[in-house]
Subunit: 322 residues, 2 copies
């Protein structure tokens, strides 16, 4: 399964999207123009605009409103990635040096704010207030989710319940917004939009579960992602939470002590602990569970190439190696 | 002249504002609640909400829409201050430790994003799309202005013209938004709103000119602002720009060399250079010029306590020592 196959039903529309997105990014300030050109070179997977376009096409005909939605979402997503890199002091993004690495943090934070306001203005200019509300709610949830995760990490307090609360907010809310916006650019049917909302949320949960699994099992890939970051930041993700819950108390408290001591060399020990106590298997089960839930939401839509691509996207996301 | 005198005509309304603002900030995420309580302790001068309220009251009766505008503006302003402190690695804000100093940068960036989205949602919930457009434009201009300033600093390129372009965008645009929002919450008269827009812009320019002057002449005050920061960051502000333009070429290039070499001990030399070549006097003249422009815009409004307070606010802002 690869993304270019999944993209096929909206290949032309993605090109139109890309053109409009690039022209949205231009500015009369030379430094902004320079940085946006650089951003356009950092070619991401474009999962979110693809999701907007596929959901719209599954419901009917892609139109001007669909592009507005896709551009707004991609602007906001790009803004949050730039802020993330500042915050994590990340040196690379999408195979190229990060904005903060090239232009320093100050420029990166400002650039993120600029793209955020651009994203808002795109929908305000088109009087798409409904779109804006959906997206602002998503942005709010994203920061709430991240802050909740940090709060829990600092208290060494994590349960499966709060974990799912965190990932629903920080990741699934934007996927959900993509699907609802794509659909509502074309139809106004409440049941269909609810199905899309649930599809997006379950897909987003599967996406983040896979991400958190790969942080333990993935090897360093071309894209520059490495393993063990969550442990370093004391983020308790599902593999670890489950193992801590399943293992004998004594063993769990030993591992907790190791994590609090934060020696880097602990990764192998923690990995073995998680593996031995079913943390990885349980996470894979959950990825499958949420993937199935997502796909089930598509049943109500008539057969189409876009629908079949959305199904493939679920598999792609839940099997991906990067 | 002091602020509590200026506040008098809207004293009660500022209390109502403060109550509503506090309740807007509450969240079910404990960490967010903790930080917002801390933010409420960092008592700022509240110049911007005061400006919204005074402009509204000068035009008519303060109402629910006025409070929405004031809350939105204060949320966005607080968000940008938090991001500024991350970017400048500032340790204090309003006499207390900064958010990034207490909770680290990651939390501060996320908290800024959270407050930004809250600010948007406040106006979306009330269907105040016009307010939102005015404010998003201002936020976009603020980041554009800051980025333009950085671009110019990196090229050691500064003219009086670009300086005014920078400060109009980065500072005056939000003052302008405050005045227009305050007025338009009450009246719909184009001429009055244009006058308020121009009042706010000129006031904002005077405010930033004074800020830039104080960066050379101000002594370290209770509020913790210190001098020489602009020079350290190679920001060319009006006092320096004017002196470089006025002084004999040879002297100017000597000073430029000193600045490029970035020795901290250069501050005294640069200060004397600016003072000897009229940079400080010229800046003071400009502050007066823009203050008078601002006050002239108020002529069309009938006599009232609020109007007289707005006039006093202009004097306060252009004479302030911190």
């Amino acid at each position: 399964m690869n993304l270019s196959k999944i993209k096929e039903p909206v290949e032309e529309e993605l090109k139109t999207f890309q053109k409009r997105f690039s022209s949205e990014l231009s500015s009369k300030v030379a430094l902004i123009d320079l940085i946006t050109k650089y951003i356009l070179k950092q070619k991401g997977k474009k999962v979110r605009p693809m999701l907007v376009l596929l959901c719209a096409k599954m419901c009917g005909q892609i139109n001007d409103r669909t592009y507005t939605a896709a551009i707004m979402i991609e602007l906001l997503h790009t803004a949050t990635l730039i802020h993330d890199d500042v915050v994590d002091n990340a040196k690379t993004r999408r195979g190229l040096a990060s904005i903060n690495a090239v232009w320093k943090s100050k420029v990166a934070v400002l650039m993120g704010d600029f793209l955020l306001s651009k994203g808002l203005l795109v929908s305000l200019d088109k009087n798409e207030f409904g779109f804006l509300k959906i997206t602002s709610e998503a942005v709010k949830k994203m920061s709430e989710g991240e802050l909740l995760q940090i709060q829990k990490a600092r208290n060494f307090d994590a349960t499966e319940e709060t974990y799912f609360q965190v990932i629903k907010n920080k990741t699934a809310s934007l996927f959900q917004a993509c699907c609802v916006l794509g659909g509502s650019s074309v139809v106004n049917n409440k049941d269909e939009l609810n199905a899309l909302s649930s599809f997006g949320e379950n897909l987003g949960i599967a996406f983040q579960l896979r991400d958190d699994l790969l942080d333990y099992t993935g090897r360093k890939k071309l894209l520059g992602k490495s393993t063990g970051n969550d442990l370093k930041e004391k983020k308790f993700t599902l593999p670890l939470i489950k193992a801590l819950e399943t293992a004998p108390k004594k063993e769990s408290s030993h591992i907790m002590k190791l994590i609090k001591n934060e020696r880097e060399s602990n990764f192998e020990t923690v990995f073995d602990f998680i593996n031995n106590h079913g943390g990885l298997d349980y996470t894979i089960d959950k990825i499958n569970e949420y993937s199935i839930k997502a796909i089930r939401q598509l049943e109500r839509f008539p057969t189409s190439e876009s629908k079949s691509s959305l199904k493939k996207l679920v598999s792609f996301i839940s099997d991906r190696e990067y």
